[in-house]
């Protein structure tokens, strides 16, 4: 194997030079494919946001703003502290956010207690059933259960349990508008995903009980896509009521639309470039075999078998494809990263937090594996026919005359 690698790589530079023109479209196709995957994978970064929906007489105003509390809650709670305090007070404490990737609480107050009702969640997926009843006093809440990853922690919580939050962190900082530190709440109901049911239920409840106004619904996210999904759900669930969108949401929608357009454009162009690239690559390999006919004849005359010629050419061609693939992926990363940067700077809402390079270059194994597999598959097919033809060259045909 080592001998073959050495033999094939010996001609690499010459082959690459000869293939350069025919490989350009192929490289472009791989680059655009990579860029497409990078643009489609994100480009707006990851952040934490709060979506507020406040139905009133004129409609529903959806407001989006940075949400600090999930971050703070991560600092506030620690399992040890909660267990310790819980034992002392004889109440059950909500499991800490550090352990809970998803969390959902809805607190309903009476008109007499103008404390904002709140829903906190870090994940919106799969909430289906509402059991028990909605809270009607300031010290009642409903909590979600069976959100898979934290179900074990909440499995023990049942209707009638008393739970409490600790709304100050270990440095004594409090979060304004959040549950009061140490305040006790009685669990009146349990929810299961998806959250749309919660909203539906809440809205229906609000309409049946107009004397209990819903002043706000707050939702916290760490995943932008969940935020967008929630926004769409909210807009859909307030049926018949005008919805006033926050400008940040509009900007986000624009960024999504822009990404969609770029992705569509990239799908078309990368598809066309890859198709053209495949054809030109076949031609390039064909040309390479053609100009090396004499060389093949010489190798055959000194004892190379057809199979050896086939293996040699396949190896050489695939080595070239790997070089083109690397060039294509690097160029594609630059293109995709550049597009992401443009989209991010122009459209990303203010609450979006960039997670460093990942926001611009959301590179995953998939980002690399798809172009690699496609390039190698095309390369193999493109190489096969010229290589088989090359191996079938009769030495006597090509050695007869001087070229």
């Amino acid at each position: 194997m080592e001998r073959w690698v050495g033999f094939a790589l010996r001609d690499m530079r010459r082959n690459l030079r000869r293939l350069l023109v025919s490989a350009t479209a192929f490289i472009l196709g791989i680059a655009l494919m990579t860029a497409l995957l990078i643009v489609a994978a994100g480009g707006t970064g990851v952040g934490l946001a709060e979506l507020t929906g406040a139905p009133n007489a004129s409609g529903v105003e959806l407001v989006l703003r940075p949400a600090p509390y999930p971050v703070l809650f991560q600092q506030i709670f620690s399992q040890d502290e909660l267990e310790k305090v819980g034992r002392m007070r004889g109440v059950r404490w909500i499991t800490p956010f550090t352990e809970l990737p998803a969390f959902f609480v809805w607190n309903q107050t009476s008109p007499a207690t103008p404390i904002p009702r709140f829903i906190l969640t870090d994940s919106f997926r799969d909430l289906e059933v509402v059991s028990g009843r909605l809270p009607i006093t300031a010290n009642e809440i409903v909590v979600s259960t069976s959100i898979s990853s934290f179900a074990p922690y909440l499995a023990g919580i049942k209707v009638g349990d008393v739970v409490c939050f600790q709304a100050t962190n270990r440095w004594g900082e409090s979060v304004e508008g959040r549950p009061i530190d140490g305040e006790e709440f009685t669990v009146t109901g349990l929810f299961r995903p998806p959250v749309s049911q919660v909203f539906k239920y809440a809205i229906a409840f609000g309409r049946r009980n107009p004397h209990i106004p819903i002043s706000s619904i707050l939702v916290a996210f760490s995943n932008p896509e969940d935020l967008v999904a929630a926004y769409r759900e909210l807009a859909a669930r307030y049926d018949g009521m005008p919805v006033f969108f926050d400008s940040e949401l509009v900007r986000h929608e624009e960024s999504v639309e822009m990404r969609r357009r770029w992705s569509f454009f990239l799908v078309l162009v990368s598809g066309a470039a890859t198709a053209i690239g495949s054809v030109t690559l076949v031609n390039g390999f064909q040309y390479l075999s053609l100009v090396r006919r004499r060389e093949i004849g010489i190798m055959r005359s000194v004892g190379a078998t057809r199979r050896q010629i086939l293996a040699l050419f396949l190896f050489e061609h695939l080595s070239a494809v790997i070089v083109f693939l690397i060039i294509g992926v690097v160029v594609g990363m630059a293109l995709g990263g550049g597009a992401n940067t443009l989209i991010f700077r122009r459209y990303a809402p203010q609450f979006w937090y960039s997670r460093g390079l990942y926001a611009m270059f959301p590179i995953t194994w998939g980002t690399l594996a798809y172009p690699a597999l496609i390039a190698l598959a095309i390369g193999l097919v493109a190489s096969m026919i010229p290589s088989i033809k090359a191996s079938g060259i009769a030495p006597v045909e090509v050695l007869r005359h001087e070229e």
């Binding site: 010996r10 010459r14 190798m299 004892g303 190379a304 078998t305 050896q308």
Partner: protein
């Protein structure tokens, strides 16, 4: 010896293995060019002993190259058979035929046929690469072969950096490196001046002493004069075979 001598029993019957290295029995080669058929060889019989030198003489287009190609298994006859150590070359599969060329038959062409982007050493080592020898052994053997033709000092030169005579000597070294049983040389001096041609002739015929059979297709009367036998070809037929006096 006239051509009819070839029809004596020793030629018309299969010769004994030990006596002859290559035997061509009534071989013909016809190229089908659409409606036209070109008869390059017509009913040629020839036997080559181990260690003998044979010069094939004749005008251009008389079939010398075709005959060499058939004797070396680069091509197969339309009719008749070529036996290499009693094996019919037409019956061999590609790996067996390639193996034979790789180990037993050395070719020297008029236009050298060296790979231009490989050094003299790499060109000489080429058959050994395909034979599966490791790099070190191949390099040593190739160096030794180049030394035999007096070109070891130019082993790192590319063909374009060598004169015609030097390129031909590299080609001879490539044929010698496998320690062949026979060297088939097609017009080896055809592109060279007379002094260089003489050097090539001496180099080639010098291999006879090692028991290597040399078959040379040539116009060169000097070369033919030094061979053990000469076969004269006209229009695809051997018309006369003469032994050296």
């Amino acid at each position: 010896m006239r051509n009819r001598d070839l029809e004596r029993p020793e030629y018309s019957e299969r010769p004994k293995h030990s006596e002859y290295l290559i035997v061509a029995n009534h071989i013909s080669k016809t190229y089908d060019m659409g409606r036209q058929k070109i008869h390059a060889l017509r009913d040629v019989s020839l036997a080559i002993r181990r260690g003998e030198s044979l010069a094939i003489l004749g005008p251009s287009g008389c079939g010398k190259t075709t005959l060499l190609n058939l004797l070396g298994g680069l091509d197969i006859p339309s009719q008749g058979e070529v036996l290499f150590e009693s094996k019919n070359l037409a019956s061999l599969r590609d790996p067996e035929l390639s193996d034979l060329r790789r180990r037993r038959i050395g070719f020297v062409f008029q236009f050298y046929n060296l790979i231009p982007n490989r050094t003299a050493l790499e060109n000489v080592a080429l058959p050994l690469f395909f034979a599966g020898k490791n790099d070190k052994d191949s390099k040593n053997a190739a160096l030794q072969a180049l030394e035999e033709v007096g070109l070891s000092e130019r082993c790192d030169h590319f063909p374009a950096e060598l004169s015609g005579g030097e390129q031909q000597r590299v080609a001879i070294a490539r044929a010698l490196v496998i320690k062949p049983s026979v060297i088939l040389a097609d017009e080896p001096t055809g592109n060279l001046d007379s002094a260089t041609g003489k050097l090539i002739i001496d180099t080639l015929l010098g291999q006879k002493d090692r028991g290597i059979a040399i078959v040379v297709a040539t116009h060169d009367a000097r070369l033919a004069g030094q061979a053990d036998r000469t076969a004269n070809m006209v229009d695809g037929r051997i018309v006369r075979v003469e032994s050296a006096r």
